[in-house]
Amino acid sequence: MRRRHLLGAGLAIAVAGMAGSAMAQSEIKIGEINSYSLLPAFTEPYRKGWQLAVEEVNAAGGINGKKLVVISKDDGGKPADAQTAANELVSSENVAMLAGTFLSNIGLAVSDFANQKKVFFLAAEPLTDAITWSKGNRYTFRLRPSNYMQAAMLVEEAAKLPAKRWATIAPNYEYGQSAVAVFKKLMSEKRPDIQWVDEQWPPQGKIDAGPVVQAVAAANPEAILNVTFGADLVKLVREGNTRGLFKNRSVVSFLTGEPEYLDPLKDETPEGWIVTGYPWYDIKTPDHDKFLKAYQAKYNDYPRLGSIVGYQTIKAAAAILAKAKSTDPEKLIAATEGLSMPSPFGEITFRKIDHQSTLGAYVGKTALKDGKGVMVNSVYRKGADYLPGDAEVEKLRPKD
């Protein structure tokens, strides 16, 4: 009697197991990792973006008839924890691919994990050039325009300025260092006549803005390159405004036009800075209109750049999975290389040569409108136009 009971229980478990695997066969899982608890200002809109994309993909019939499921994990801003999460997603959840990440070092950690475990990884946000070039690998692709591309876009405008004496302010870590290095290199190529008169390296998140502003002013530059963002940028702008640092000086600034960083400046937004960013209120293309309407309808809020990145990451993942018709990493790579797809910014392509997408960015000037910071005279710069030639890229990237 007892024995039969056990048998029955065993059968029940087996049946339940089969039902589970049948469920699994009708869905495709993507593992997503980001610094939700450390950087909520960026990752909250980002999450809204990808959730919208998942909804749209499934409303349109999923991926070749299968339901798309995203399993999302927090990395707390630590590379080691990101790897734990990646491992869980791959080993326990059996996801078809990894996606996401914000900070460069976390992007690199997950990319190295993907390379080791032979898992497809779509890096959403990390800006470091290393992820596609010096430390690039065949399993990793990246969506956002890299440090180099954004620098090249800004240099194009900066080189037109008459200024000859330049100073730089950048957070003291890899992102700030490489942004300044690339900007200086490209700028000096275009304008051999300029001089670099001062550089300031406040620690990320801990700028003591008064002394920094004062030190830059003492070098009396004609133009300033800024790479700080977030709370550091707010402090820098406030001190700079009060002390008159930006008066009669041109400023070129990375990322400042992104709503995440521009909006907190409110009525203290400095005018006339040349910035990269996302003027969602000024973009009048059908692709973007569609995205904007859907986003506002769902969340009753305006999108930030993070929303675009999150949205397009999942859209891209869906396009890749649909084309590959498989979750085999090799087939995913083959499908992604050279794949073109629509995005809210227009068509983008994942390059075969370095796995970088050609998503671009908007370049414009900051202005004040109704007590709020906005970008004006914005122009979309296609990513493809701001990447070095193939021969150079081949030198930068290790062979697979």
Binding site: T43, K78, F113, A231, V234, T242
Partner: protein, 629 residues
């Protein structure tokens, strides 16, 4: 010339903000001996509440009133925290309160995002202090001048409070000799609560006053807390004037330092602290701590080796752990390896803290050095895995030998802060020396060789090394060296009198502990396949402290349990919820209240109580010894 003067004033303004917060911390520490990790959280709450109030209330009165009211509101929150939480654990082992305040800090970080949203908030400018004053063509923000004027005023008020009121006399007396004040019949509860309230008020005021020049966001607390601790220690614990001088010193060195070395900010305060502590072991204005009046041998339950029954239990627990690969999946095994590695790390710190009586706040330095050691050997020198694993920790050993030599000259919190300074110096080298360490992008591709690559094999390897290390540390505890070390911990004078060279014994213990931490780091590098400056970072050092305290600092091997509980809870919560900090913080606070001596410590106490109620005789003996002391 005008420029240097203005730069000097700018430095003073930065010093003013630092001083307000530091003075509060210094007062709290001086009287209650609480290492108040939540001080930064109160600072941040002050800024957030002030932001809300100043947005609602209009006019100059609304602004300044909002600032003061915000500080008062947060002070009330502080009083609640003190009365509900901290009062329960004043009798817990030293530093245990750190655990409670750490848990609170984690919770506050999530709570402010839930209340005020994730975006950076821009507060109002102060009415009447919007612009700048022209000084020979240089602009000085008038708000800076206000702050510069405010800090001597606060200093003066505090001085009057401490020198001219009865309350102040009591506070100074308690700072100097807490036990004597208690013996004289002063109500300590009331004194502690009022001191805590004042300290929190100053922290919140410091935060509230930042809103016209800063953005209000959820990482404000971590930005300030370490720096403020450093300032307090440089000035000398409990010394308000010391905190003021140290704040000015650090801020001015930074203001002028960046003119010559623009990258100096990242490490400056720690360099200053290391130099000051090596030259003046009690800070600039501090006094040597009064000799502890603990009765040696009675503060902890007497230690003994495991009985044969307990030994069998430990071995079966280990055997059980070794069967994990038979039924668990790859993810569980990798988590298992990670937990095992953190057991090694926590055990190394526990050895130093409980056996040596030396609490290190920078133990991640040696963990990280071991990890970087492996990365260099495996990547740069291309050595095989076993060789790298054996030689990697040598870097941890060398680091511990050098830093330990200086650190063991100090004791108590000064020792802790000097180890923190060394850890930050190692961290900034790892962070800055991009050509060698890869900077914050780290060293990638340090993966184990094929034989150890499978999660099961790596798990067995980690588990084996962990078991060896923990057993070895226990052997050392009960060796003659271990007894000498405990003697030095319990009574430096008596142990010196019987011919023990205390400093050398402690230094040796430091080196052993650093090397073991390095072993953990070496394994960690292979587990993750990469090394980042994070593994030298403050948060890892704090994690180790939390594990040791959670396990129970007055036990022989409590850290093993502490590490397993904390790491497992941490990994599980981070994976399950986005509010992991809130839940983990709440969990820690609950553990603190439920297990005021740490998990293992409390269980042991309960067991001992049962045993002693069975054998009343032995209890009688104990009480007789107590009476004799």
């Amino acid at each position: 010339m005008a420029f240097y003067f203005v730069q000097f004033l700018t430095g003073l303004a930065s010093a003013a903000s630092l001083f307000l917060v530091a003075s509060g911390l210094s007062i709290i520490f001086g009287v209650t001996r609480i290492v108040n990790f939540a001080h930064g959280a109160f600072y941040m709450l002050g800024a957030y509440v002030a932001f809300t109030l100043t947005e609602r209330l209009s006019g100059a009165l609304g602004f300044w009133g909002g600032i003061v009211v915000a500080a008062l509101i947060v002070a009330v929150i502080g009083v609640l925290v003190e009365m509900v939480l901290l009062r329960r654990i004043y009798h817990a082992p030293e530093l245990f309160q750190l655990l409670a305040t750490f848990g609170l800090t984690l919770m506050v970080q999530d709570i402010v995002v839930m209340i005020w949203g994730p975006d950076d908030l821009l507060g109002r400018r102060a009415p009447g202090f919007r612009g700048a004053v022209d000084f020979f063509g240089q602009n000085i923000p008038s708000y800076d001048l206000f702050l510069i004027a405010l800090s001597p005023v606060v200093l003066g008020v505090l001085w009057l409070l401490f020198q001219r009121t009865r309350w102040g006399v009591l506070v100074r007396a308690a700072t100097q000799d807490r036990d004597m004040v208690a013996a004289l019949g002063v109500n300590q509860k009331w004194l502690f609560t009022s001191v805590f309230a004042l300290g929190v008020f100053l922290a919140a005021l410091g935060g509230a006053l930042q809103i016209p020049r800063d953005a209000v966001h959820h990482a404000l607390d971590l930005r300030i807390i370490v720096e403020v601790f450093v300032v307090v220690v440089i000035g000398g614990l409990g010394s308000i004037i010391g905190a003021f001088v140290a704040a000015v010193l650090v801020s001015e060195l930074n203001a002028f330092g960046i003119l010559i070395f623009p990258k100096i900010s990242i490490i400056l305060v720690f360099l200053v602290m290391a130099v000051v502590l090596i030259v003046r072991p009690w800070g600039l204005f501090g006094k040597p701590e009064a000799a502890a009046r603990r009765t040696p041998g009675l503060t902890v339950n007497p230690w003994r080796p495991l009985t044969s029954g307990e030994r069998m239990m430990s071995i079966s627990a280990l055997a059980l752990a070794a069967t994990l690969p038979l039924f668990a999946g790859n993810y569980a095994l990798t988590v298992g390896s990670e937990i095992a590695i953190f057991v090694v790390f926590a055990a190394s710190l526990h050895f130093l803290m409980s056996v040596g009586g030396l609490a290190s706040f920078g133990h991640a330095a040696y963990f990280g050095l071991g990890a970087y050691g492996v990365a260099f050997l495996a990547k740069a020198a291309g050595l095989p895995m076993m060789v790298s694993l054996l030689l990697g920790p040598v870097l941890g050993l060398l680091g511990a030998a050098v830093f330990g030599f200086f650190a063991v000259q100090l004791s108590g919190v000064y020792f802790a802060m000097l180890t923190l300074a060394f850890a930050q110096i190692v961290w900034s080298i790892a962070f800055q020396w991009v050509t060698v360490t890869g900077g914050d992008n780290g060293i990638l591709g340090v993966w184990p060789e094929k034989w150890a690559a499978s999660p099961a094999n790596f798990y067995w390897l980690s588990l084996g090394i962990t078991a060896l290390v923990v057993a070895l540390l226990r052997v050392i505890v009960f060796s003659p060296f271990g007894f000498a070390l405990r003697a030095t911990r319990d009574s430096p004078l008596r142990s010196e009198a019987i011919g023990i060279n205390g400093k050398r014994v402690q230094w040796t213990a430091f080196v052993i502990s650093g090397t073991v931490a390095g072993i953990g780091g070496a394994l960690f590098a292979y587990l993750k396949g990469s090394v980042f400056p994070d593994s030298v970072g403050i948060s890892l050092s704090v994690d180790a402290l939390v594990m040791v305290l959670l396990g129970g600092v007055e036990t022989v091997s409590g850290a093993v349990i502490g590490a397993i509980v904390f790491k497992a809870a941490n990994i599980w919560l981070v994976s399950q919820t986005d509010l992991s900090k809130l839940v983990l913080g709440g969990f820690i606070v609950l553990m603190v209240v439920a297990f005021p001596k740490g998990i293992v410590g409390t269980l042991e106490t309960i067991r001992n109580r049962r045993r002693s109620s069975k054998a009343k005789k032995s209890a009688l003996v104990t009480s007789r010894i107590e009476a004799a002391e």
